[in-house]
């Protein structure tokens, strides 16, 4: 019976692999920032990347939607497959890729526009709404999903920059959701937030798991333990260990992982 469940689980994860990275190397000029990373990210799960500062976890995250393309000196080799298709294939348009793989940044960065226009930005660009009613609906749905609707429904025309930090970050999440992505990348989304706002965003991440595959970079191991099902530990550009979150935090295989989670390195 035990074996059956185990097998079942392996089967299902194998079927639902959303992103697969094979032998990924990243160079910043002469600096070899990411070395030989192989990882499989499952659909409808939250995957956390943890590791000390400068270990390459954010760099790797930014490879998944090719945000590193905007940096001149950055070079990526190896394969990253999204639904089995290589995203670094010359045929792939990074602009379209980013519509499928949304991103939330470390510091809340709402545009200096109204709350409504912030959320409507993506749908407008990609022509997701047929008319104004449609757009209104998308905006409302996204804000509801981001648990922000009740706070802002009466002031959709107020500037997004005038809100509190936590609200701004949830607005950025709503903005990312509105584009209907398949994967949501979050680069330390709570590092600029207070504990209450952090709790709200974490709750939100857990709900988002039902619709997307979420990849979150975090410095807080407690946060990784709270929100993720899978955890990857990066150290000095290497992916040291990748496993179920429970296992990483209770029974790590690699001594470096153990040192990090027990606070001895990093």
């Amino acid at each position: 019976m035990e074996d059956m469940i185990q097998m079942d689980r392996t089967m299902s994860t194998q079927q639902d692999i959303k992103i697969e990275a094979k032998n990924v190397q990243v160079y910043y000029g002469d600096n070899h920032a990411i070395k030989d990373v192989d990882v499989q990210i499952a659909d409808k799960t939250v995957t956390a990347f943890i590791g000390p500062s400068g270990c390459g976890k954010s760099t790797f995250l930014r490879c998944i939607n090719r945000m590193n393309d905007t940096i001149d000196v950055c070079r990526v080799t190896g394969d990253i497959l999204l639904d089995g298709e290589d995203i670094y294939d010359p045929k792939v348009d990074p602009v379209q890729l980013r519509a499928k793989v949304g991103m939330v940044f470390q510091k809340p960065n709402p545009f200096p526009k109204s709350i409504y226009d912030n959320v409507a930005y993506g749908p407008k660009i990609h022509g997701l709404a047929r008319d104004k009613t449609d757009l209104d609906e998308i905006v409302e749905k996204s804000l509801r999903k981001a648990a922000l609707w009740n706070e802002v429904k009466d002031r959709l025309n107020a500037p997004g920059t005038g809100m509190s930090g936590g609200q701004q970050q949830r607005l950025c999440i709503a903005r990312a959701i509105a584009t209907a992505p398949e994967v949501l990348l979050m680069d330390e989304p709570c590092s600029a937030l207070d504990p209450i706002a952090t709790a709200q965003v974490e709750e939100l991440i857990d709900e988002l798991r039902q619709s997307f595959s979420v990849v979150i970079v975090t410095h807080s191991m407690q946060q990784a333990a709270r929100v993720s099902q899978k955890t990857a530990f990066f150290h000095l550009g290497n992916l040291v260990e990748f496993d179920d979150t429970d296992k990483i935090f209770t029974n790590p295989q690699d001594p470096r992982t153990e040192s990090y989670i027990s606070g001895r390195i990093g």
Binding site: V95, A99, F105, F111, Y121, R175, T179
Partner: protein, 400 residues
């Protein structure tokens, strides 16, 4: 000038002696141990220098503002007062050197005084300019009806008096030429700025930006020559005459285009700085949502930078309105109210020059009108500048 030379030499001598005396004396009161002093010897020295030099120099400046300097030169009493001030400052600061005296604080107060003085001069000059214009303008309106000045569409100064001095044709010329200049400079400058800040590689930028800014260093008279010998005849031969719009080489279009070239670096350089000030996080946010580069620039970067860009354009506009040389050589000197851009017209600034350089009596309305014109122009550009400042300031609050 002889009688001012003596006090100035005394002040110079006292400050130099004071510098060295104060250093020695500070060490002396400390018994050679510098750590016993609250302020360092060099701070005592600086305090002595400032206390010796500033009060008498300030007295000279104040006196010359109050009376004419010539009177000061003749007045022995004044010379004595100046020297007495220098000696008092010198003596008091030297006597004041004790172990616990705070020369540093005093010296910094003197320096703050100097800084305040410098900024006051800048502001007072503006006030002075306005007042000198105001008085002459007032004289002008005593001799000439203000309604005729502001509302008459006729400008024909007559040296024997009885002239028509309506500002409207001149104002129209000024605004028309400035409008054409901005129509030319704003898109080109803005597009250049967008290219430089968003597309150009850092090497390209380091070459192209100074190259564009060279335009700002060309004297306007050289632009005027360019308008006179190149642009004017070109526009006449290839546009104006074939289209039957006139035979004049000097035209609104000539002056407007050349002035536009002059304004390009103003618009591009300021806009480039402002676009660069838009945080990278804004662009990342937009790229992260799958926006293309041009969508990002059009919908995020430019709107975020817009108030600053408007400020840049308004500054360029006030430059255009005040420009004289390009207009004299490019647009001619005929006051005219016309819509045809290939016709010669003139501006307020050109007429100020020509009214003041004539042989007419200085007290006649034909000459005094220059001050009324100047004041009107000043009010317009001041308004534009205030508006630009207001917008730029508002822009600073856009994102933290």
């Amino acid at each position: 000038m002889q009688s001012l030379t003596i006090p100035l030499l005394v002040i110079l001598g006292l400050t130099i002696t004071g510098y060295f005396l104060a250093k020695t004396r500070a060490l002396q009161v400390a018994g050679g141990d510098i750590r016993k002093l609250v302020s360092l010897p060099k701070q005592h020295a600086l305090n002595t220098v400032l206390a010796t030099a500033i009060p008498p120099l300030a007295a000279i400046v104040l006196f010359s503002l109050y009376r004419r300097l010539a009177e000061a030169e003749g007045s022995w009493l004044f010379t004595l007062v100046v020297i007495a001030l220098a000696v008092t400052g010198f003596a008091l600061s030297l006597i004041g050197i004790k172990q616990e005296s705070r020369a540093r604080t005093f010296a910094e107060r003197w320096i703050m005084g100097l800084l305040i003085f410098a900024s006051t001069i800048a502001i007072m000059t503006t006030v002075g300019i306005v007042f000198s214009m105001l008085f002459e303008t007032f004289n002008f309106f005593e001799q000439y009806d203000w309604r005729d000045f502001f509302f008459s569409a006729n400008w024909s100064p007559n040296f024997r008096g009885n002239s028509d001095l309506g500002i409207l044709p001149l104002l129209w010329g000024t605004l028309y030429i400035s409008f054409i200049a901005l129509l030319f400079a704003v898109p080109i400058g803005l597009f250049a700025a967008i290219y430089l800040s968003e597309y150009a590689s850092s090497r390209m930028r380091s070459v192209a930006k100074p190259a564009i800014e060279i335009l700002a260093g060309i004297p306007t008279i050289v632009y005027g020559l360019f308008a006179l010998v190149t642009v004017g005849p070109f526009l006449r031969d290839y546009f104006a005459s074939p289209m039957g719009l006139g035979q004049s080489a000097s035209s609104v279009m000539t002056a407007g285009l050349v002035m536009g070239v002059m304004l390009i670096p103003f618009v591009s350089s300021l806009s480039d700085d402002i676009i660069n000030a838009v945080p990278q996080a804004m662009r990342d946010g937009s790229f992260g949502l799958g926006a293309t580069k041009s969508e990002t620039i059009r919908q995020v970067v430019i709107p975020a930078a817009l108030p600053g860009i408007v400020g840049a354009v308004l500054l360029a506009a006030s430059r255009a309105i005040g420009e004289t040389m390009i207009v004299v050589l490019g647009a001619g000197a005929a006051a005219r109210l016309s819509l045809n851009p290939f016709e010669a017209m003139t501006t307020v600034t050109v007429k100020i020059v020509s009214q003041l350089t004539g042989d007419t009596d200085f007290a006649s309305p034909e000459t005094l009108v220059a001050f009324a014109l100047g004041l009107t122009l000043f009010v317009i550009t001041l308004g534009l500048n205030v508006f630009a400042l207001f917008i730029v300031r508002k822009y600073r609050e856009q994102y933290e």
